[in-house]
Every structure is written in structure tokens, then in C-alpha cells.
């Protein structure tokens, strides 16, 4: 009796999860399938599920009309720069707030945490003025500078650092280690899973960054992928099959990254809590 009840609940759970999975996956699938259809087939009613004749023409068109390779390179450069610098500052800040005792450290940390409540949209105007003043408009550096530190990631990593026993620190100290060596040789390797997780979350955020990019970038050669797709619609008119091809090009790297690093992303979101 008990066993039957259990299997029934697990059946319901499975069904619900599967529905959820289909709802999540279907748009992506639809995007990819649409990108392989012709213009006629895309707008056909009733719609077809699988394309009747596969065509890569949309991809060829998209890659020909817009410099997606350039966009891709820009996205890649910006993302790498953001992630590398952010990780560096995050690790140093997390170490300082978890291990070093300096006057006002708690107050400073509380203020930083409070600043997390300010939405990014509020900061856009001040950031925009700063970037404009520095003469960095329409420059890829403008896409990196505002995103070189993260309070949220610092907070997550600091909490992990705090869980590392003090005795490791003192042991390393007695062994002659400086704070710097202790951080990079002991703490960072121990925190590797957490660091990988926040690096991945940061990568996704940086890759998808759109609003800020549209504000500070003008020239075609400096566009990143999300902006490139947006411009592709704006300039080329709404041709869904072409749009879908462009969108596929944008999300593909992230999907591949997700498939490889699934374990870390899931554990990071479930362990670290609230924000994706």
C-alpha cells in the first residue's frame, strides 16, 4: 500500500517536472526549428513542427548581412574581461572581509550589502555620465568597467571563506606563509567549486548584457551579440526565420557552456540561494 502511494506521488512529481521541462525547452526547440524553415513555412497556418525541407539559408543570410563573427568576438572579449577582473576583485574582497581584521570592516561590508538593494537601472544614468566624461563612449572598455566588481559574488564567496577553519590559516602562518600565498595556495583551491559557480553565473550575465550595451555602443564594429541581434531585426525588418537563426547563434555558446558546467550552475543556485 505504502509503496503504491509512494510511486503515485513520484509519478505526479515526474509528470509535473516533465511538463515544466517541456515548457522550458519548447521555445528553444521552436527557435532552432524555425531557423531551419523557409519564410513561407514559418508563417504557415496551421504551423508545421518539423521543417518540411531543412535549409541553412537563414544562417548564411544572417552571417552575410551582419558581422556576427565580429559580434561574437566582441562578446567574447567583453565577457572574458568582465569575468576575469570580477573574479579577481571578488576573491580579494572576500578574503579581506572574511579573514583580515581592519577598522570598520563590518560597517563597510554592511554598507556594501545595503547597496545590493539599489537596482542596476538606477545606476545607469550615473554610470553613463561617468563613461561619457571619461570619453569611453562607443568603446568596448565601457562595457567592462562598470562590471568589474560584484557585491553579490563577494558575499557568497566571503561566506564560503568563513567556513574554512581558522586553524588552516594559523597553520599556514606558522609554516611561514604570507596572507597572499595562503589566499592563492590554500583558500582559492578549497573554494574552487564556489568560484567556478560564480564565474559561470557571471559569464552568463556578462554574455547576455543588453541594456547597457545599447546605451554606450553605437558603431557596428563594437556591437556584442545580443545588441547585434537587436540591430539585425531593427535594420532587416521582421523575418522570423532569419531572426531565429541569429538568436540561435547568440544562445548557442551559453547552451554549450551550460551543458558542460551544469553541475556547478545548479549547485551554485541551490546552495547560494536566491539570485540567478
Amino acid at each position: 500500500m505504502k509503496k503504491k502511494k509512494l510511486s503515485l506521488t513520484s509519478l505526479i512529481t515526474m509528470t509535473l517536472l516533465m511538463c515544466g521541462a517541456v515548457i522550458m525547452i519548447f521555445p528553444f526547440l521552436w527557435m532552432i526549428l524555425s531557423s531551419l524553415k523557409t519564410q513561407v513555412e514559418v508563417s504557415m497556418i496551421p504551423p508545421t513542427f518539423l521543417p518540411s525541407n531543412f535549409t541553412l539559408e537563414n544562417y548564411i543570410f544572417a552571417l552575410k548581412t551582419a558581422p556576427f563573427a565580429r559580434y561574437f568576438l566582441n562578446s567574447l572579449l567583453v565577457t572574458i574581461a568582465c569575468v576575469v577582473i570580477t573574479m579577481f576583485t571578488t576573491i580579494l574582497a572576500a578574503f579581506a572581509f572574511s579573514r583580515l581584521k581592519f577598522p570598520g570592516s563590518n560597517i563597510i561590508f554592511s554598507v556594501l550589502i545595503a547597496m545590493m538593494m539599489i537596482p542596476f537601472e538606477m545606476l545607469i544614468i550615473t554610470n553613463y555620465t561617468t563613461i561619457a566624461k571619461w570619453g569611453l563612449m562607443d568603446n568596448l572598455i565601457a562595457l567592462v568597467i562598470p562590471f568589474t566588481a560584484s557585491i553579490f559574488y563577494t558575499y557568497i564567496l566571503r561566506n564560503f571563506f568563513l567556513s574554512i577553519p581558522d586553524s588552516l590559516y594559523y597553520s599556514a602562518k606558522v609554516d611561514g606563509s604570507s596572507d597572499w600565498k595562503y589566499l592563492w595556495w590554500v583558500m582559492v583551491p578549497i573554494a574552487k567549486p564556489t568560484i567556478i559557480t560564480i564565474a559561470l553565473l557571471n559569464t552568463i550575465a556578462a554574455w547576455n548584457s543588453f541594456l547597457w550595451t545599447v546605451l554606450v555602443i553605437n558603431s557596428t564594429s563594437n556591437r556584442t551579440l545580443p545588441f547585434g541581434v537587436f540591430a539585425f531585426i531593427a535594420e532587416g525588418g521582421v523575418r522570423y526565420e532569419r531572426l531565429m537563426a541569429a538568436a540561435t547563434i547568440v544562445v548557442l555558446p551559453m547552451i554549450i557552456l551550460f551543458l558542460f558546467a551544469r553541475k556547478y550552475i545548479v549547485s551554485g543556485v541551490s546552495k547560494g540561494g536566491i539570485k540567478g
Binding site: Y170, S171, A172, K173, V174, D175, S177, K192
Partner: protein, 349 residues
């Protein structure tokens, strides 16, 4: 290396953890810091290692004043109670870490490490991570890591407390052996008097941060300065009977007979008579009578518990005919019998 501490004091706010302790620890000796929990022994160890700055007092390594030297510059080896092995490194990497910090090339540090690895017998699990080791193995690794940089002073914080009873006895002999072979001055912290007396050359007994007595095991057992020392050391615990000094000798509460001692004490002083179990002899040189309450077999000997005054006394005997309920005459040997002032615990005899 000889370690000298002078008036060493550590205060945490109003609380004094270590209170003006002075001592000299001779080169190549194994010294135990002994005391109940919270007596300041770990605090003292941390001050010696440089992890904790001292509030007052001085620490000398040989003739060099190291009081203001930070932990990374003192060149001491330290083994923590929880061993503090780096979880992401293998045994070999853990052992080599102090040399890696000094920038010793990899080949050379492995060569150096192997010497100590053979001394401590951990050669069979060099590629394992600490989580894959038992407590005893982890401890060996921690000791090796502390020894590899050839410290002038090795500090061990409750090195045996995380081990089970059998392994504890094995490891304490192991620590003694390693200490003898390496010849490094070693100070270890323990709350277990048996552990301290079994392996150390000398013991410093602390109580609430105050040094009670510092000397060899025999000094502390045979010549305790106060009741606390007498009570803390020795198995079984020293016998204690409350009483008063009458003109000629000690009278236990609830008894009338006088046990005479050759000492001058003001009449009426409240006293505690204390004697080691092995200092009492039954049915020989009788000085008082007592009733047998219990008897146990302890190895070859019989340990009996006697009712005397308001307390009880333990004594060893080889006499197998003694039965529970017997009244026996009790005599005293010329060692292991003390009189302490009841209030202060000060030794009077």
C-alpha cells in the same frame, strides 16, 4: 633550542587566560603543559607559536627575544588539535607545503620530505587526500608537516584527543620516539595527566592561567606544592580526608584517633590529609583502623576502598585473604603522604 618565558601574561578583556608564567624549557626535552579545560594551556601554546600576541611578558628562543616576532618568522612547528591538514592537497603536498612556501624546488622538497616520511611511517599513503586517512594517520601527516622545516621548537596542541583509547597509547609512544629521534624541543598541551606523565620529561601544571608547579613527573607526584597538584596527578586519584590538627597530630572528622606527624601546625587548623594509594600498607605499622568497603582486582594487585572519617581511602594490597567488611590496621610508607591546609590548599607536610 632552549625556550625561556618571563612573566608571560595574556588577557582577553577582563579575563586573564595566562597569568605571569615564567619558566625555562631545556633544549631537546619533551614538556607537557597540563591542566583542566580553560586553564590557559592552549593560549600559552599560541603565544609561543606567535599566533596570539602576549599582553605582558617576554619569550626567548635561546637568547633571542622573539616576543614581537610574528608567527611566520619564528620557525616553530605547530600541530593543531584537528591537525589542520589542507583538504585539497595530497599527503605529500601537505608535507611539502612549508618548503613550497620557502620556494624550495619541487625535486629537492620531495627529497627532504621522504626523510621525515620514513621517520613517521606514512610512506604508504602519500597520494591520498586527508579525508581518506584515519585520525592516527592524519596526525602523523600533521607531525611530519611540522617537522619538515626543521623547527627549533615543536608545539603540539592536544595531539591525542581525537584518537581512540588504544591508538592514543600507541601514538603517544610514537610522539616520544619521533621527538627523541629528531631531538627537537617539544611542548605539548594535554588535559590528561596520564598522557603527560607517561611521555614527558617535565610537566607544567596550570590552573586558571596560574602556574601551579613545573618539574619532572616524579617531582609533581612525590613533592606536590599544593592540593591541586596532588589531586591532579596520579592514578588512582590521591586519597583525601578532611580533619583538624590537634596538638599531636591529625584527627579526621568523625574519628577520635590521632595520626601523628612530625610537623609544626597551629592547633585547630583545618587540614586535608592526602595519601597515594600505594603509600598505604594494610596490617603493618598500624596508625589507624579502617573498614574495607570494596575490593577490585587491578592487574596483579588488589585495590581496596576503605572507609575512614567522612571519606574513603584507596590502598593496594597483596594480601588475598582480605574480605569486604574486615577492619584492618593501616600504616603509611615514608612517601606519598601529605597534609594540606584545607582553605588554601597549601602544603604543610
Amino acid at each position: 633550542m632552549k625556550v625561556t618565558i618571563k612573566e608571560l601574561t595574556k588577557k582577553f578583556g577582563d579575563f586573564t587566560a595566562v597569568d605571569h608564567v615564567s619558566a625555562e624549557f631545556d633544549d631537546g626535552k619533551l614538556i607537557a603543559l597540563l591542566g583542566p579545560s580553560g586553564c590557559g594551556k592552549t593560549t600559552m601554546l599560541n603565544m609561543l607559536s606567535g599566533i596570539l600576541p602576549s599582553t605582558e611578558g617576554k619569550i626567548f628562543f635561546d637568547d633571542e627575544d622573539v616576543t614581537d616576532l610574528s608567527a611566520d618568522k619564528r620557525g616553530v612547528g605547530l600541530v593543531f588539535q584537528n591537525y589542520a591538514l589542507y583538504p585539497h592537497m595530497t599527503v605529500l603536498e601537505n608535507v611539502c607545503f612549508p618548503l613550497r612556501i620557502r620556494g624550495v624546488p619541487k625535486k629537492e622538497r620531495i627529497e627532504k620530505a621522504m626523510k621525515f616520511i620514513n621517520l613517521v611511517h606514512i610512506e604508504d599513503y602519500l597520494d591520498r587526500k586527508p579525508a581518506e586517512l584515519s585520525g592516527g594517520q592524519q596526525q602523523r601527516v600533521a607531525i611530519t608537516r611540522a617537522l619538515i622545516k626543521k623547527p627549533k621548537l615543536l608545539l603540539l596542541d592536544e595531539p591525542l584527543s581525537n584518537l581512540d583509547a588504544k591508538l592514543r597509547v600507541e601514538m603517544r609512544e610514537e610522539i616520544r620516539r619521533i621527538q627523541k629521534e629528531s631531538g627537537v624541543t617539544t611542548i605539548f598541551v594535554t588535559h590528561d595527566q596520564e598522557e603527560a606523565s607517561s611521555i614527558s620529561d617535565s610537566i607544567m601544571l596550570l590552573k586558571r592561567g596560574v602556574q601551579q608547579q613545573f618539574g619532572t613527573v616524579d617531582d609533581l607526584c612525590d613533592n606536590p606544592v599544593n592540593l591541586f597538584t596532588a589531586d591532579f596527578l596520579g592514578t588512582p586519584t590521591i586519597n583525601q580526608v578532611h580533619g583538624t590538627w590537634s596538638e599531636k597530630g591529625f584527627v579526621a572528622d568523625g574519628q577520635t584517633e590521632i595520626i601523628s606527624f612530625n610537623v609544626n601546625i597551629p592547633t585547630g587548623t583545618r587540614l586535608i590529609y592526602a595519601s597515594r594509594a600505594e603509600a598505604l600498607k594494610l596490617n603493618q605499622d598500624k596508625q589507624f583502623e579502617a573498614e574495607i568497603l570494596e575490593k577490585y582486582k587491578v592487574g596483579k594487585d588488589t585495590l581496596v576502598r576503605l572507609k575512614y572519617g567522612n571519606g574513603s581511602l584507596r590502598a593496594y594490597t597483596e594480601d588475598k585473604t582480605i574480605q569486604i567488611g574486615d577492619i584492618v590496621g593501616v600504616g603509611m610508607k615514608d612517601f606519598g603522604v601529605f597534609l594540606f591546609e584545607a582553605e588554601s590548599g597549601k602544603r604543610l607536610l
